[in-house]
């Protein structure tokens, strides 16, 4: 009995600690409906292939990217304006919201087996699965790569290769250094068709 009461008290304390409040997905959902849904979709699944799907994305990855947008370190004009007035608590709540939404595949063109095979070979050669894990689900600051728009993946890879995308570190710039456009297209196709 005593132990149960203690456990309940601890749970209560955990639920109302500042960090737990900041990571409240319901609060994140409310902010998302106002600020994010128009482009990223009401369910975190964007329609436009140039705009990333956020449903099921890694919580820490979303948090860090929103901070980089807000601070003007990752220069995407549309996102800089959207993130401009977000507090750290808003950012954590948004990340909790999107991380908790079910990821589902994007609308996509039929799978081209030869192109996907080439993409898989590129992934093996560049060790994508080491950080993003073999199923590309990502972890912590490393994003999920599946259930994402192929066009967005291709553009992002090219931006990293060409030094136009800044992350929290330069690991991705190194990982895709020197890839041909055709390799990038194949890799994006492979990732977009992995469920």
């Amino acid at each position: 009995m005593k132990r149960a009461a203690l456990a309940a008290a601890l749970l209560w304390a955990a639920a109302f600690s500042p960090a737990a409040q900041a990571r409240d997905p319901a609060r994140g959902a409310a902010i998302a409906a106002q600020r994010c849904a128009a482009c990223h979709g009401a369910d975190g699944r964007s329609i436009a292939a140039e705009i990333p799907m956020l449903a099921g994305q890694q919580r820490e990855f979303v948090t860090l990217q929103l901070i980089l947008f807000r601070e003007g370190i990752r220069p995407v004009p549309a996102m800089q304006a959207a993130a401009d007035k977000l507090s750290d608590e808003d950012v954590e709540a948004l990340a909790a919201h999107y991380a908790g939404l079910p990821a589902r595949a994007a609308e996509r063109a039929p799978r081209d087996a030869a192109l996907a095979a080439r993409g898989q070979a590129v992934s093996a050669a560049r060790n994508c699965g080491v950080c993003h894990l073999p199923d590309y689900a990502g972890r912590a600051q490393v994003p999920r790569l599946t259930r994402q728009h192929e066009a967005f993946l291709a553009r992002t890879l090219a931006e990293y290769r060409d030094g136009r995308r800044v992350g929290i570190d330069t690991q991705m710039n190194g990982a895709v250094q020197g890839l041909a456009d055709a390799d990038i297209a194949a890799l994006a196709h492979h990732l977009a068709h992995r469920d």
Partner: protein
């Protein structure tokens, strides 16, 4: 059986290399040179949102009897290297979040934190000269004059980037381009130029150096070469010799190499990287060089511990045994299967200035049982009252250590 296994292996290797050729893989990125296949070790995720006071793990920190730890300031995501102005403002740089913080003390002893610069590339190197704050952000060098009088309305800095002519992000290939900065007793600015890879052949006149400059960026002098990446240095308060911490290479096993402590007796000495680290030959880049030809490190600090910010303790609050001894922050390992570091270490020197022993001074942030960490100490700063500030990068907090008999 063995033969068949070999044949299968050979076929796999051939198939893999055929695939690799087809996919036109390029050079391995600098940071991953030497990484064994199949390793899933990766750097720990930073935390760039403010941590509420209730979640700052000050209660877990352990210090020797008589010492006490408190939270000096918090809510500064990514806070790293510290410098103090003549009016007592503590400035803290950062890396990914691009900010410089200013912490002032209110009349009631509480602190107030401001962001005085933002959007900078890795503004990790701070040095105070008179009323001017110098911020070293990769190759940018910015001088904020009379800053303590203008914390709410920070003037446009004087841009000294061209005069210092430090290598750019691109020249570094994104590797080890952030700076530590320290003011020497000769009035010069001392800093590091890290190596542009994990380990490789590189221009030894350009990278893996300790260098010094006049404050206007003129008079560049190489203080030491063959120092892979130093993110902590200070001059001994009596001998005036330059000492520096150094981060060893990655991907060479759990126990090698150690991070190292370096004592520079004369400008221009060669400390051996990439040929030798910690006085032992590099397994891939030794090139037949004798490690005896290079200056041996003053101490081995532990494998992959990431020894960073360091200062000599020049205050009088701590017991006499700490006077003029070297206190350093070990940020903690990622490139090792079991965690090391996440603490402060004191290097006690003997009468000849040699390291007599290393004392684990502040512990408790590394949770060995669960292989996790609670914060990452990255720099120390001796306050005028003799207390010691410790920057905790992961939690964005600055701790203060005091001593009372």
């Amino acid at each position: 059986m063995k033969k068949r296994l070999f044949a299968t292996l050979a076929a796999t290797v051939l198939a893999a290399s055929a695939l690799a050729q087809q996919a036109a893989p390029a050079p391995v990125p600098g940071w991953a040179v030497g990484r064994p296949a199949g390793s899933t070790l990766a750097p720990h995720a930073p935390k760039l949102t403010a941590t509420p006071l209730a979640d700052v793990p000050v209660g877990a920190i352990r210090v020797p009897p008589g010492f006490k730890v408190e939270v000096y300031a918090h809510g500064m995501p990514g806070a790293r290297m510290m410098a103090e102005g003549p009016k007592g403002t503590v400035f803290a740089g950062s890396r990914a979040i691009g900010r410089v913080y200013a912490i002032t003390r209110n009349a009631d002893g509480s602190t107030r934190t401001r962001v005085v610069a933002q959007g900078l590339p890795q503004p990790n190197g701070l040095v105070m000269i008179g009323d001017s704050l110098y911020v070293l952000a990769v190759n940018r060098v910015l001088r904020y004059d009379n800053i303590e009088a203008n914390l709410d309305n920070v003037p446009t800095p004087v841009d000294l980037t061209a005069a210092f002519a430090l290598p750019t992000e691109a020249e570094h290939g994104g590797n080890h381009h952030w700076k530590f900065a320290s003011l020497g007793p000769d009035g010069r600015i001392y800093t590091n130029v890290g190596v542009n890879c994990n380990v490789c052949d590189f221009d030894r006149d350009k990278f893996a150096l300790l260098v010094s400059f006049n404050p206007d960026g003129s008079g560049r002098r190489v203080e030491a070469r063959g120092v892979r990446n130093s993110v902590g240095m200070a001059h001994h308060p009596v001998t005036r010799e330059l000492w520096a911490t150094n981060n060893g290479r990655d991907w060479a096993g759990n126990e090698w190499p150690h991070d190292t402590l370096h004592r520079v007796r004369a400008s221009g000495e060669d400390h051996g990287f990439p040929y030798c680290t910690g006085n032992t030959p590099d397994p891939q880049f030794n090139k037949g060089r004798s490690c005896g030809d290079f200056v041996a490190p003053a101490a081995l600090l532990g494998p992959h511990v990431a020894a960073l910010g360091m200062r000599f303790y020049t205050g009088s609050m701590f017991p006499a045994e700490y006077r003029n001894q070297l206190i350093m922050a070990r940020r903690g390992s990622w490139n090792r299967e079991r965690l090391t570091g996440f603490d402060l270490v004191v290097a006690h020197l003997d009468a000849q200035g040699n390291v007599a022993r290393l004392e684990e001074f502040m512990t408790g942030l590394r949770d060995d049982a669960n292989q996790r960490f609670l914060d990452r100490p990255v720099d120390v700063h001796v306050m005028r009252d003799g207390s010691l500030l410790v920057a905790g990068e992961q939690m964005g907090a600055i701790y203060r250590i005091t001593y009372a008999r």
